[in-house]
Amino acid sequence: MDNDTLQHKMRELKTQFPALNQTVYGRPLVYLDNAATTQKPQRVIDSISEYYSKWNANIHRGAHYLANASTEKFEATRSALAEMLHANFREEIIFNQGSTDSVNMLSTILENEVEEGDEIWVTEMEHHSNFVPWQMLALKKKAHFRYIPMLPSGEWDLDYAKNEITDRAKIVAFNWVSNALGTVNPIEELIRLAKSAGAYVVVDGAQAVAHFDINVQTLNCDFFLFSAHKMYGPTGLGVLWGKKELLEKLPPYRYGGEMIKKVSVTGTTFNVLPFKYESGTPNIEAVIAFNESISFCKEVGRENMHAHEYFLLKTATERLKEIERMTVYADIPNKVGVLSFNVEDIHSADIGTLLDQQGIAVRTGHHCTQPLWEKLGTTGSVRASFACYNTVEDVELFIAALNKSVNMLR
């Protein structure tokens, strides 16, 4: 598809998102905080309303019509996710609260796989959610907490990784796409390295799922996780995929209803996958509505989404660089639509405040990646992040408002 056709095609999307059709402080809203959370298409909102108006019931154990209907819809999303991720088995898909929940679960159930002196690896650019749980696990097990350094360009120092990741590495956990910089990391290579070292490989796909097609088979990682709310889906829902043989072997995480086969005062036996890892009433509404987000992404096509967002990124980056004393972080080719920058001697929070007054929603601060900013010699940035529904006009409004803000602050 040439760019004009693509732009034309994508232009229609915005009308599907009611939150984008509003003004703030009397100005049209330009929502560029998509890496924090995406807006939701009307079909997702409608699905939630429909669920509560027609199907609401607690799932799995019901003996009645509504319970069966909601169970069926709930399980349909699991099947759709198995297809989306190219999982071998649908029971490899585990629902929970979010990416943070997934990493905490993994760092707990992998506990007994780590021994004193082993190494647990992350990278210097990880989101705190994929950093602190591993740091704490290392502390607890007296293992070495190690990280792949980030180069000033925002890329991994893969040479370092090649030299240093040996068979003492038990777990290697990393993000596919950096939420702070938007860099797309060479995960295939790191997975290969980590697997040949015999480590468990955890891929944080939170910032990737809205932009790339995913095939957990060809990736050959052990675990892959993301949050629905960053993929045009509802809040409060995480998806964890894990290799069946591992999920079967590893211990349970949360104990309670549904994950139990038999409870007695003398002992308890656990249920099969996926129920083993889904105790308690799940976020039924979110799971069911998320199926609409999955269809939405499939219909629009992630290839189109990424191409369009990349076009916006390039356009915005060029315009941004015209501003004096501007630092654009990670201005490299391999990126999604995340633009992270600072203007010399101006605090990112000040820019954020003045952009906000002009209807432009961006995020400022450390974006939960403090080690990354320490490496880059600052404490944070202004981050504008694009989604499939953003337009070239959004970019224009953003750049104009940014110029005005910078002038006011100088």
Binding site: H60, R61, G62, A63, H64, A67, N68, T71, E72, V272
Partner: protein
């Protein structure tokens, strides 16, 4: 043969206009089925996936067909189990493995009976196919 037995069931159920009569018939089937002895209803014969319990036993008969016996602790499930047994019983592993099982949908078992229960039946069918696979392998190696 399996297809023929399915057709018979479908015709039989087409007869009932009301849910009540359909269920009365299923309950009747449940009451009539021979089932398993108390000693046979052990955990190792349990089929997973059922809210009520389902036990299943399969063996290879001398003439090369499969003998299926089953039971449930709930009478409606027992009736449904009886239907499944009647379809598969005394068929060869080959026929079982090549059958297209559609009668449950056609008589409205999937939409009209609970998901949990039809899952239990699905688990039962899956188990029967598993047995058939094993028996077929045994036959070939003999």
């Amino acid at each position: 043969m399996i297809e023929q037995k399915q057709q018979e069931i479908i015709e039989e159920f087409a007869f009932f206009e009301e849910w009540m009569h359909k269920y009365e018939h299923i309950i009747e089937l449940g009451k009539e089925m021979k089932g398993l002895t108390e000693e046979e209803k052990k955990d190792d014969l349990l089929v997973a996936g059922c809210q009520s319990k389902v036990w299943l036993k399969a063996s290879l008969e001398e003439n090369g067909t499969v003998k299926i016996e089953a039971d449930s602790d709930a009478i409606i499930t027992r009736g449904l189990v009886a239907l499944v047994v009647s379809v598969f019983n005394h068929e060869t592993p080959h026929e079982i493995l090549n059958a297209n099982i559609h009668f449950m949908n056609d008589i409205g078992l999937v939409s009209n009976l609970s998901q949990t229960r039809s899952n239990g039946l699905a688990a039962m069918v899956k188990q029967i196919l598993l047995y058939a696979t094993v028996f077929q392998a045994q036959q070939k190696s003999n």
